[in-house]
């Protein structure tokens, strides 16, 4: 068996390619059992300054903070490393998971007292298909496959380590980042401006 075949398939998120079209959300909302609700969310980072958008979706941490802090033991991890959505019969809707998640992923449904989040579309991935969000994404901001596949096709590199303050988090899903980045430090501050944004500043009026 080749290395590629042994590698787990995961979601590779390249916010740089995101065009903010919301196709992933609309597709997710159509997935079985989602009942019209999306488990992935597209947001502008700073619309006043930029059209940059980014998908927020569960990164499926190796040691998931959401599960660690859950008082009801409602969040389970399956054999492939997928952190599952809260078990409806256990979840008490306390919101600890939402507070603990470093990526801001879990949402609490106040009516059902239930946490919901992405579980990587088990119904699709278990039969060899992609999650619908990655299938439809028109710009390739969402890619589902192996690390070898994405490295073969893309210039950006996949990254699965993130430092939040002093804590380093490893994840099943990856963010695509510029080559030679091996750890992403999340910090406050202004984002560097895109070249095109500088070109607009030069417009002669």
């Amino acid at each position: 068996m080749s290395q590629a075949a042994r590698e787990p398939r995961a979601l590779f998120v390249d916010a740089g390619r995101c065009i903010g079209c919301h196709a992933c959300e609309e597709a997710c909302s159509e997935c079985a059992g989602h009942g019209g609700q999306a488990m992935i969310h597209i947001e502008y980072l700073a619309r006043a300054a930029s059209v940059q958008t980014a998908p927020t979706v569960c990164m499926h941490c190796a040691v998931p903070a959401c599960a660690s802090v859950c008082p009801a033991d409602a969040i389970k991890v399956d054999a492939t490393g997928v952190v599952l959505s809260a078990l409806a019969e256990r979840c008490i809707g306390c919101g600890n998971c939402a507070l603990a998640c470093p990526f801001g992923v879990p949402k609490i449904d106040p009516v059902r007292h239930l946490m919901t989040k992405c579980d990587l579309c088990y119904d699709r991935t278990s039969v060899g298909r992609q999650p619908m969000c990655a299938t439809v994404c028109p710009s390739g901001a969402l890619f589902y496959g192996t690390r070898a596949e994405v490295e073969d096709q893309r210039r950006a590199r996949p990254l699965d380590q993130f430092r939040f303050g002093a804590q380093v988090v490893r994840t099943l899903n990856h963010l695509m980042v510029p080559a030679a980045t091996d750890l992403l430090a999340i910090a406050a501050g202004t984002a560097p401006r895109a070249r095109a944004e500088q070109h607009l500043e030069e417009a002669l009026c």
């Binding site: 196709a23 159509e30 930029s50 059209v51 619908m132 994404c137 893309r154 070109h199 607009l200 009026c205």
Partner: protein
């Protein structure tokens, strides 16, 4: 006659737009589909493959169709939520006749008899050309063909045109002049093979989202991206070079880029000599367009223009893509030709990864402009004023060329002729001019002046509210047929469900009317496939030759690119290979393009440029997408986008409601203060009617060749509303 039969509020209450959010019975009751129908999206010209899920003969959802090669399962939000137009509470289910207080249900026979009787009565009194027909570019090839035949042989009017007049005609005219063929020169797969891609006036990330995938596949290989746009669109944000052109100055900019290419030694002299004519005149004309000389005019520093020229000239393989941003102008055809000049002068066409395309807007933006529902055209992309072309079509239709009406008025000219009292009656299918034509107040006054207006539609559009008779037609998924996608690929639209209630497939309505108008023997079709067979035979020998295309071949090949002259021909994905163009001498034409200012430039009274366009979640006049809840939620109402420097000068805060005023009218809407647009320009999307309609502001000025309206430049001023003067949004 055709004033609204009831108040707008009453009509909205009865006919919508209402919002649909869930499949029939809700998500919980959706269950397992009985079948998945492989078809295409009903919206834009990308024509993404998609599967409609059907249960109990109702469309209940979608599933990506990953095997279809164009989009490989990729979809935009419109394609995913499109299924919510089915089972919609606003759906027209039976024929309606105008009453004193709204519309009342009548039977089909009575409705069809009344339509025919009114058409004939108007024509008896005012002449045949007093009745006009409007079609649309979302119609299948079969329906587009039928509309042209219907207008000319059954209604026997010269006045038929279509809403592609607002979309593809500048590109089409430019392509025809330069290449002798009006079609994207390359299949989309060539985009992914290019080394440099120039996108001019095309917000691909919102208006043709799937195209971003092709662009990124090229960039994954190292391709460079240049984007020309007054707004920093999502794809432009990532560009290697962004040229924020001042609206209306595209031809000058393209001339300047070519000027710089020549200085850099980027001409392909062999290609120019062997495959083109007219370069010397162009070269002389370009003298006036040195980047340093036009930088103020176009609003971009000369150095950036030179940078674009260098990127273009140095790349072995290039693709130039443009869309409405350069085409919606009084000099739209000039802009197109200036783009083509750059492509031809550098010999970058007709090769893998190397060529040119205009991005069609509507679902059948390509096919619907080929088969004769345009005022100047006969099927097979033939010219209605060319005696040989007329003779061919007349012979195949079994009439004398003298019985074929001549060239008619364009859609905007039809509205003008209604104002003038020259056209008294109108039949419209698949067109919502009240929202989509410039200067909406003028269009509304025209509708109110008609003696008779017949609308065939699936929802009661803002325009159809003015109708005397409304005939319930079919949604795209309720009929069979073909469309021709952005690539020139002829593909199959498959029926998923039957029209609901008493609604009928559009072609059946047209044929039934033809029967009553006395031309029935030429409209004896039992199925769309029979119309297609007639169309393809008629197109044989024409430019857009479909003769060798069959439904079966489309299925087998996942589409067939025209020209496809015979059964053994595989189709033609890439045009102009080996530098052979469509003109009789096989050579492409250069055109010396001068710069002409927009029809309405800014002045002291109206100092800001207004440009209009689309958002990703809505489609054109919104007759479908404004009824789909999840899409409406993504962008509920139009806002006026302006730069913080302009906003600061006017004292306007983000979110504040402002009044935008042009010489045609005024609009009140919220300001969206963002640094992603030129400071001298504001943007309003045009998908909404009435008090939210951007086209209340736009100008009735048209390209002299194509007749396209100048949607992309109008002069406006922005006023603060007194009531909001002290309010500041956080």
């Amino acid at each position: 006659m055709a004033r609204l039969p009831a108040s707008t509020e009453t009509l909205i209450d009865r006919h919508g737009p209402h919002l649909a959010f869930e499949p029939p019975g809700g998500f919980a009751a959706r269950g397992t589909p009985d079948r998945a129908v492989k078809t295409h999206c009903c919206f834009c010209g990308q024509q993404c493959g998609v599967q409609l899920l059907v249960k109990d003969e109702r469309v209940i959802g979608v599933e990506p169709w990953e095997e279809f090669p164009f989009n490989r399962g990729k979809l935009c939000p419109k394609g995913i939520k499109r299924y919510l137009q089915n089972n919609h509470p606003d759906r027209l289910l039976y024929p309606l006749v105008r009453t004193g207080s709204g519309f009342a249900r009548i039977g089909w026979d009575e409705a069809l008899d009344q339509v025919a009787e009114r058409i004939l009565r108007i024509q008896a009194r005012h002449g045949r050309d007093a009745f006009a027909v409007l079609g649309g570019a979302s119609l299948t090839n079969e329906k587009a063909y039928l509309m042209g035949k219907f207008a000319r042989l059954a209604v026997r009017t010269r006045h038929i045109d279509y809403n592609g007049r607002l979309c593809m005609v500048s590109a089409g005219a430019g392509n025809l002049k330069a290449f002798g063929i009006d079609r994207a020169a390359n299949p989309w797969a060539d985009i992914a093979l290019a080394d440099c891609i120039l996108v001019a006036g095309a917000n691909v990330s919102e208006c043709s989202p799937i195209t971003t995938d092709y662009i990124w596949r090229a960039r994954d290989r190292g391709a460079r991206l240049i984007v020309i746009d007054p707004r920093l669109t999502p794809i432009a944000r990532t560009a290697d070079l962004f040229l924020p052109v001042k609206p209306g100055r595209d031809a000058a900019l393209m001339n300047a880029i070519l000027h710089a290419v020549i200085r850099l030694g980027g001409l392909d002299h062999d290609f120019i000599a062997a495959h083109t004519t007219g370069f010397e005149a162009l070269r002389d004309a370009l003298d006036a367009f040195a980047p340093e000389r036009v930088e103020t005019l176009v609003g971009i520093p000369a150095a950036r223009i030179v940078e674009a020229a260098a990127l273009w000239a140095q790349a072995p393989r290039t693709m130039l893509l443009h869309a409405r941003g350069i085409e919606h102008h009084t000099h739209g055809v000039d802009n197109v030709l200036a783009c083509i000049n750059l492509v031809l002068a550098t010999g970058k066409i007709g090769k893998p990864g190397c060529g040119y395309a205009t991005i069609t807007g509507q679902g059948n933006g390509q096919g619907a402009r080929e088969h004769g529902q345009r005022c100047n055209q006969l099927p097979g992309a033939r010219d209605i004023e060319n005696p040989e072309h007329r003779a061919v079509v007349a012979e195949r239709w079994g009439v004398s060329p003298d019985d074929l009406p001549g060239k008619g008025a364009t859609a905007p000219q039809i509205v003008e002729k209604i104002h003038a009292g020259e056209i008294r009656g109108l039949l419209s299918l698949c067109f919502n001019p009240l929202v989509s034509l410039p200067d909406a107040a003028y269009t509304q006054a025209a509708l109110e002046r008609l003696d008779c207006f017949v609308a065939i539609d699936f929802f009661l559009s803002e325009t159809a509210r003015h109708a005397d008779l409304v005939l319930p037609g079919s949604l795209q998924e309720e009929d069979e047929g073909t469309v021709t996608s952005v690539e020139g690929r002829v593909i199959r639209i498959r029926q998923a469900v039957a029209p609901p209630g008493e609604a009928r497939q559009d072609w059946r309505i047209i044929c039934a009317l033809a029967e009553r108008l006395g031309g029935g023997e030429r409209f004896q079709f039992a199925a769309p496939s029979e119309i297609f067979d007639e169309l393809r035979k008629l197109s044989a020998g024409g430019t857009a030759d479909y003769a060798g295309i069959t439904y079966e071949k489309i299925d087998r090949q996942m589409g067939v690119f025209w020209p496809c002259p015979d059964a053994d021909h595989p189709g033609t994905p890439r045009l102009f290979e080996g530098g052979r163009f469509g003109h009789p001498d096989g050579r492409a034409r250069f055109h010396a393009i001068d710069y002409r200012p927009p029809a309405e430039d800014v002045d002291d009274d109206y100092p800001v440029i207004l440009t209009t366009g689309r958002v990703v979640s809505q489609f054109l006049s919104g007759n479908q997408t404004r009824r789909i809840g999840p899409l409406v939620e993504l962008y509920p109402e139009p806002r006026v986008e302006m730069h913080p420097r302009l906003a600061a000068r006017l004292g306007i805060a983000d979110g504040e409601r402002v009044r935008v005023v042009s010489r045609r009218g005024a609009l009140e809407l919220a300001a969206h203060v963002v640094a992603t647009i030129r400071p001298d320009t504001v943007f309003i999307p045009y998908h909404w009617p009435g008090a939210q309609s951007a086209n209340r502001l736009t100008v009735r000025a048209y390209d002299p060749v194509s007749g396209i309206p100048e949607f992309k430049v109008a002069a406006v001023r922005i006023e603060r509303l007194a009531a909001a003067a002290t309010r500041r949004e956080p």
